[in-house]
Subunit: 216 residues, 4 copies
Amino acid sequence: MGAVKTKRMPRAVREQQMLDAAVRTFGRRGYMAASMDEIAELAGVSKPLVYLYLNSKEDLFTACIRREAAALTAAVRAGVRPGLPADRQLWDGLRAFFTHTSHYPDAWSVLHLQARTHGEPFASEVAAMRAEIVAFVTQLILVAAREAHRDPDLPASEVAGVAEALVGAAESLADWANAGPEVTARQAAATLMNVAWAGLGNLMAGSRWTPPEAAH
Amino acid sequence: MGAVKTKRMPRAVREQQMLDAAVRTFGRRGYMAASMDEIAELAGVSKPLVYLYLNSKEDLFTACIRREAAALTAAVRAGVRPGLPADRQLWDGLRAFFTHTSHYPDAWSVLHLQARTHGEPFASEVAAMRAEIVAFVTQLILVAAREAHRDPDLPASEVAGVAEALVGAAESLADWANAGPEVTARQAAATLMNVAWAGLGNLMAGSRWTPPEAAH
Amino acid sequence: MGAVKTKRMPRAVREQQMLDAAVRTFGRRGYMAASMDEIAELAGVSKPLVYLYLNSKEDLFTACIRREAAALTAAVRAGVRPGLPADRQLWDGLRAFFTHTSHYPDAWSVLHLQARTHGEPFASEVAAMRAEIVAFVTQLILVAAREAHRDPDLPASEVAGVAEALVGAAESLADWANAGPEVTARQAAATLMNVAWAGLGNLMAGSRWTPPEAAH
Amino acid sequence: MGAVKTKRMPRAVREQQMLDAAVRTFGRRGYMAASMDEIAELAGVSKPLVYLYLNSKEDLFTACIRREAAALTAAVRAGVRPGLPADRQLWDGLRAFFTHTSHYPDAWSVLHLQARTHGEPFASEVAAMRAEIVAFVTQLILVAAREAHRDPDLPASEVAGVAEALVGAAESLADWANAGPEVTARQAAATLMNVAWAGLGNLMAGSRWTPPEAAH
DNA sequence: AATGAATGAGCATTCATTCAT
DNA sequence: CATGAATGAATGCTCATTCAT
């Protein structure tokens, strides 16, 4: 168990081994319960080497977040083709997202659970990634409106809220799909598309749900 | 700092003070970073008394989860009137939910972040509450279908996925609304109703979004 | 489990209940591992009452030692008839001793193990009892010598050593007999009589084992 | 106070220092009253190092018992010459035993008092050593019988009881000799030889002490 | 490039003991 | 006669981090 203890590797390689071990350990045990001892052992190196390369537990965790955030956004971007219609882009992006989160559950735990749970500086690190995704979805909504030849009469703030809701729903479905093998990435994406696309269509058609007058 | 140090309180009262302090501390620092020392001091009692009444850190955290889960579901239930149409019930439930989470952000952090992040036995404790809410939303969807005189041709498994997505979206919007004072509970509820209700309507009308053929 | 919780008992009775509980708890858990909580609960009273009557854990333990030491020496004395020949007295005393220790194993644990293991002031408390027994055995040896019409040419210091050895052997056999049900008090007494009486007889006859000259 | 604080010792050396400190502390304070803090300080190291090398208080105490049990049996074995007559072997063994116990009183306290008083897993650890010694004495008795050209008509169970009694007497005399400087190892051994050897001789000659008929 | 040796600081938990009624 | 409420002081144990080589 743990990486084979090969000696004298170049620094870059060793660092990736350490990050692999760290993501796995942080993802499974949680940030606080993960011990540097366990990470070092899993990486097949001594603890001082981990400190030499990555400075501290905090820095190590931050490095994990950054690496995995970049990997996730890269996966989503790689799944999407800019020229296609907006719904197709959304569909492709969701599939890439769910595929990635189900392939790397430890990384997803780090990003979605651990980083958000343990305050600064981790929360803002992952918030940056999330903002990027929300912005992407927001763009897609606006593009969709244009494609439907409608001026989005949605105020910008409301579009942001809608994007936020969609991303939240996607995150939730990722956990849901990860919980058991019955739900595939494709099914999760289809479920979300059904709710979202229809809802967005109506929304852009101007038919909103109107809240009742605030009583007393 | 901390509660006023009143002496010789009956046990039931002290226990609530301890739970108040614990929810606040767990919600802000996180389960692991919270120290029993800090909780005891915030509650205005000595550590041994906390142990005498609540046994262990684990039991204390579990008691927090149970109390706050009960409070949240009670708040939602209290906000909903069973006789009204399904959309109105959903709207009222969402408003009650967002109002409660914004009033008690520490409790929301305990339920949504801390309990889920720190494994068993906490995760299943809060999962029970969540399952209850998902079941409630699922019922509402089916009721809405009946009200629209449509047999929901949605398979049960798909309804479950939709409910999961809506609850996830709501959770996300609760965090979003809590992050700053610009978004009110009412606005969060309206945003979600817009996406959800329209989407559900289309869905029940049988117009689903169809994924493209799987390319290979 | 524990004494029936009858209220308002006279002090003397309550004290005995407490001592019963204490002997049992100290004997089984050991002095340090026994908690005042457990003793109070087993005695069916509240902790402050234990303190009111017996002052402290140390005093409580001392009281246990005294009571049980008195009970043990009383039992031995009651088993012996002063007029009889010395060997018969020794035999009767040993039988009384082994019978008592096997009837009250917790008390024996308190006297033989716990009190000796936990230093002053307990060790000297039980040492007093032991000294009394050693003195009794010493007397018996001298009486036996007189009965055999021999001036014991044993120096007093050597008689003391012999008595010490016999008492140690008896203590050891008490543990041995308590360890399993195969050995009865009668058998333990017979075994010791066989070693001791023959040895003493030879000793008094002047035939001692002579150590070799101290070599180099 | 405590060992000289020399830095950076190899592990094996440090471990012995820790065991030295632990035997001394456990022997004087008792197992429960001894604190890991005190042991670490006496060993001239920090507490975490003690835990790193010896895992837990329980393991540390067990390691003490094992080391000292091995040392004591080794000392006895080293004092005995297999070829010599049985009485000479017994004499030499006893002298070695009393010499060792008086040289290492803390170790003797650990083995004879502390380990037996604090239950499993310690009791059985030291019981193994004791069984070894009892077996050795039993052998010696049988050899002595052969040397006297007598079939020991003692049943095996009775020989076991006799050996048990002798070992118990020896243990008691060790405490007695340790209590003050007036009694030397040589005197303790002589005292026990006098009781034992004469007693054994008579026993093997078939002249046993017969208990009176059981009355009523 | 890599590690064996070592620690300061903190944490959950327990216990003997007391006060106010 | 009796107790519910409360605590000061330890104790076993763990962890992130560093130093000397």
